[in-house]
């Protein structure tokens, strides 16, 4: 992507400093679930606001590369991207800060300090996220036509699944392994609860609590990326989504096998 210089920064920054800050923005945006278009736009805003005259960005699945120019010099830098997640509050804070930087008045050092502050100060998930996930999965279950006896077990199993998922993530367990473990535990627990509650569709109920694991954001980002001319990144996301679905299904399959459901 190319961005014009909108307003000169306070001082002429070194290209390397500008590139580093812009890449930090890009990396964090990727990790908060932004689409490639947004990453390119916002990274370009930051670089232009800090004085870059030309900005070309390449957004990959696991890395970002940026080429900046302030005549007559050019620099190309690359940055590794961490695990992709979703964090709307941090995304918004980054977007607002990038707009401020674009308006001018920031140095690279000030922009870096601001990014660091945002990461530290950005609100984390509220404690009741567990309940919210339970409600969401119970509502999903209703959309899948589970009977009312299955709603309670889905709620409880999804909430506990979210707790386990959070714990596994905090121990940096491989995301696919974590997905299978959570799917298995939540599905088994739901199946046992649904039997106890007298549900007539236990096998279907067991699908409800794993819907929290369905990778919706990457699935749609994959399509958006392909439609917006980034087939490589879109394909990488699509493959990740497909593999994730397989691992979810393995968890449910193991749970069904254990409880003898769905044969």
């Amino acid at each position: 992507m190319k961005a014009e210089l909108l307003q000169p920064a306070l001082g002429r920054e070194s290209l390397e400093e500008i590139a580093t800050v812009a890449l930090d923005f890009g990396r964090l945006l990727m990790e908060t679930g932004a689409s490639a278009r947004n990453v390119e736009e916002i990274t370009g805003q930051v670089a232009a606001g800090l004085g870059a005259e030309r900005v070309d960005t390449r957004v990959g699945y696991a890395s970002l590369a940026i080429t900046l120019g302030i005549r007559p010099d050019w620099i190309t830098c690359m940055r590794k991207v961490g695990p992709l997640g979703v964090n709307q509050r941090l995304y918004h804070a980054l977007r607002a800060t990038a707009a401020e930087i674009e308006r001018g008045g920031f140095t690279a050092a000030k922009a870096r300090a601001e990014v660091d502050r945002l990461v530290r100060a950005s609100p984390r998930h509220p404690g009741w996220v567990v309940l919210a996930v339970g409600v969401a999965c119970a509502a999903f279950g209703q959309l899948l036509d589970v009977d009312w006896a299955g709603v309670g077990p889905i709620f409880v199993a999804a909430a506990l699944g979210q707790i386990v998922r959070h714990q596994l993530a905090s121990h940096k367990i491989n995301v696919f392994l974590s997905t299978t473990v959570v799917a298995f535990l939540a599905s088994t627990l739901c199946g046992l609860g649904a039997r106890w509650a007298g549900s007539q569709a236990v096998a279907r109920d067991m699908t409800g609590p794993v819907l929290l694991l369905v990778p919706g954001v990457p699935a749609f980002n994959a399509q958006f990326d392909i439609l917006e001319g980034r087939p490589t990144l879109g394909s990488a996301r699509a493959v990740w989504v497909a593999v994730n679905l397989v691992f979810i299904t393995v968890g449910v399959w193991l749970a069904r096998g254990l409880l003898g459901e769905g044969r």
């Binding site: 979703v86 964090n87 969401a136 749609f220 449910v252």
Partner: protein
């Protein structure tokens, strides 16, 4: 039109979208937008299904309607339009069909498969349904985004 069913799906779509909004760390005030997005899309899909449309066509129309409304919302609303689209659509993802499709494929490869032809047809049917529905949702969301962004309504 089955009004109780419409109300039921609308409420469930709103609850599912708002619940996932919390998981996506959307600000508390913006959760109502998430719920509205999910409720609107599920309501449109339920009405379309009520008219006898296929799941894929109903999902496409619902995503398109939701995409247009989200693009026309005032800015800022505390949640990105991209996220609002996705939150509205996630309750329409055919997760149940996806699970059935993959379980069906597992069943085909069992050592002593029962009624293989029937199992293959069911698995392929579910797989295609998942692919077409997800594709319909994605295209339904992308069209308003691409058209309205070109017209300066990002």
């Amino acid at each position: 039109m089955d009004l109780p069913l419409l109300l039921h799906h609308t409420v469930c779509g709103g609850l599912a979208a708002a619940g996932l909004g919390v998981l996506f760390n959307v600000g508390f005030r913006a959760l109502s937008w998430c719920a509205a997005s999910g409720a609107l899309m599920l309501a449109v899909r339920t009405v379309a299904l009520g008219f006898g449309w296929s799941m894929e066509a109903a999902s496409f129309v619902a995503a398109l309607a939701g995409g247009v409304v989200v693009q026309l919302l005032p800015s800022p609303i505390g949640v990105s339009r991209n996220a609002l689209h996705i939150l509205g659509c996630i309750p329409m993802l055919p997760g149940g069909f996806a699970a059935k499709a993959i379980l069906g494929l597992f069943a085909i490869t069992a050592q002593h498969p029962v009624a293989t032809n029937e199992t293959i047809i069911t698995a392929v049917d579910n797989t295609l349904r998942v692919m077409f529905t997800v594709g319909a949702l994605g295209i339904g969301l992308a069209i308003p985004t691409l058209v309205l962004r070109v017209r300066g309504m990002k």
